[in-house]
Symmetry: C2
Subunit: 389 residues, 2 copies
């Protein structure tokens, strides 16, 4: 069985260690669920300096279990920011040149209002009393943050996976606010198989008696075992069969021979258990339910009468899509259908499929071809935007 | 959350509704774990009549969650046998011509000795006190059953998935006892990704507090929620992305619009929950741990110094391997490597890759090309064996 660490409190949810923008009753967040979220808050990080023309801002959108700590040490894990390989002074996304904004999505657990946040109406964590959050809701909140900075047009919006969904939503909902868009390893809708994997994860969380119908904080508990199982299942989908074979194969973990028991004989078992264990230290179980649901619900074509091209009608945004050959969570075909829709909408679009065996997770790794693609696209867009190098 | 049914007892484990062969202390089963299992029993079903020459016997090996009820009503579910589409009077495997034997594997839960069986030493179910069972152990027990029938040489051994592993093990361990072998949708070793999925399932079971370290029967409990989650995760791997898309897509379940909640909005969610729910009614959780472990441990090449061809050295058995294009649990490449090894061993081997989008589960379905392949192979082998049509 997975050994579990001590519980952490949910302080980061209410009082995050990054800046917070609070919106009171006069500025509610309109939700797709048909209700208003108010008051609410957005926790965010910025890197670099906004120029006088406010034309050098890049919004980075995070994935399912990501957060605002994109290019600086994560306060929960103590690890480097999740995209520090890409973003920082002198890096591909050069923060001595660009003003990078990254906010925790609504529904998250690192300081933006989510199920772990205190519900002002009850003084207790929202739990499942928080309405369902959609990708469009996340983007609506981000727009309010961008407005707060007085940024009329973002130079670029980029992100991978669920972050890429937000990029596509931005480009569709607010085309005049997005000069360039970089959706990576993503799609315009969540597939049946992807919904299936998410449902397994949710059922694993909900099957844990420590979940308590979502009210675990009030019981002083957390559904750590269920969440660990959910993470383990999801983690397999982030890698490729080839990468697993290359990294682990059937190698044994710190032993010479099979033990004929249920311990982690194989390295892959030990690795997965570790992934599950460390995840529960940094992530809220209810937030995991909300994030997976947001992705399941995402279907940009359905929001436009079933025709994806209509989601981008008349767009002037410059697009670059990136997919990875071994990504079976968001196969190249998903990106290609977005490219076709953008072509049909007459958009400026480039598309790069990167040959790698590292699976979906490739977008988070030191992947030279990815960096080259982003670098080329950003450089060209910067020239077009009149930003000096 | 998955709604759960009432518990069933483990009577079928000790006193199955099919014939049973009991082996007392004088005939223990030698296990790869290094111990002896004794006493033990094998529950089996037969169909058709063994001819005077005892040359018309076909041994069918079942998959992970299968059982001996291959061609007649299952006593637990009341449903048809799991391969009744293929086996019966006048069918492809014609029981008016062949004598078909199918036994519950050792470690199973339908009457052959397994973790749900009563341990004679304690009077309680074995639980995790049963030694780990391997594919080779299963086959060793089957040999004792075949000996019981006085069958010198099986006309054929066939099976899919874990059943196919047993077929390969039979052909490797007892080549002189196997005239022809039909391993379907299988491989000579379990891959890293497959071990990973099994580990997720095991952790889901073990995370359920009703598992009680495997001693749930003594508590009058069963880890149904954990086992249901395990089954849901596994079930995704039995289907293909294309089949899920074709069958379910993003279709909603009995509703016009998204409900903005965690109910099963999508058909795929409802379908998966149903798969989990019905599985716990018919299968023992500990047995699931043992079956998955047996598959994980299977590595025929490793048993022969790393050279798979040596597993089949000098074989005179006729082989036919079948794979399915959309099977990502046992991709065609796994079958192909067995075919290469058989070629290197100078064996008689044919290989059919069947184009289908139905994934791994295709081997259990009404798949005309599969039936044609089996039919052709069996007819040719029967002629070679001198069996009249």
């Amino acid at each position: 069985m997975v050994a579990l660490r001590t519980k952490r409190t949910n302080n980061e949810a209410d009082e995050p260690s990054s800046p917070v923008l609070r919106f009171d009753a006069d500025k509610p967040l309109k939700l797709d669920a048909g209700t208003l979220l108010s008051p609410f808050q957005i926790a965010y990080k910025t890197y670099g300096t906004l120029n006088d023309a406010r034309s050098n801002a890049i919004l980075v959108c995070h994935a399912l279990t990501g957060d605002q700590h994109v290019a600086s040490t994560n306060p929960v894990t103590g690890k480097p920011g999740w995209w520090e390989v890409l973003i920082g002074p002198g890096k591909i996304i050069d923060t001595s040149r660009f003003f990078v904004i990254c906010s925790n999505v609504i529904g998250g657990c690192l300081g933006s209002t989510g199920p772990a946040s205190t519900n002002p109406a009850t003084g207790k964590p929202y739990g499942l009393d928080l309405p369902i959050i959609t990708i469009r809701d996340m983007v609506r909140a981000q727009l309010m943050l961008v407005d707060h900075f007085g940024i009329e047009k973002l130079f670029s919006v980029l992100g991978g996976s669920m972050g890429g969904m937000q990029v596509l939503q931005w480009a569709s909902s607010y085309p005049e606010r997005v000069f360039s868009a970089l959706p990576i390893a993503t799609g315009a809708r969540h597939s049946s198989q992807n919904i299936a994997f998410h449902e397994v994860g949710r059922q694993a969380v909900m099957a844990d008696p420590e979940w308590h119908g979502g009210k675990y904080f009030e019981q002083g508990k957390r559904p750590e075992k269920g969440l660990a199982v959910a993470r383990m299942a999801a983690h397999i989908t982030y890698l490729s069969e080839a990468a697993l074979h290359r990294k682990f194969g059937r190698n044994l973990q710190d032993r010479e021979a099979l033990t004929f028991g249920f311990d982690a004989d194989f390295q892959i078992e030990s690795y997965l258990r570790h992934q599950g264990m460390t995840f529960v230290d940094r992530f809220d179980a209810n937030s995991y339910l909300y994030m997976t649901r947001a992705m399941d619900y995402f279907d940009l074509a359905a929001d436009h009468g079933g025709r994806l091209a209509d989601a981008f009608a008349g767009t002037k945004t410059r697009f670059c899509l990136v997919s990875f050959t071994s990504d079976w969570l968001f196969p190249t075909e998903e990106s290609r259908s977005v490219v076709h829709a953008l072509n049909a909408a007459g958009a400026s679009v480039s598309f790069v499929e990167i040959e790698t065996d590292r699976g979906h997770d490739a977008f988070l790794l030191d992947e030279p071809e990815l960096f080259a693609a982003i670098n080329g696209f950003i450089a060209s867009a910067a020239r077009a935007r009149g930003l000096s190098a």
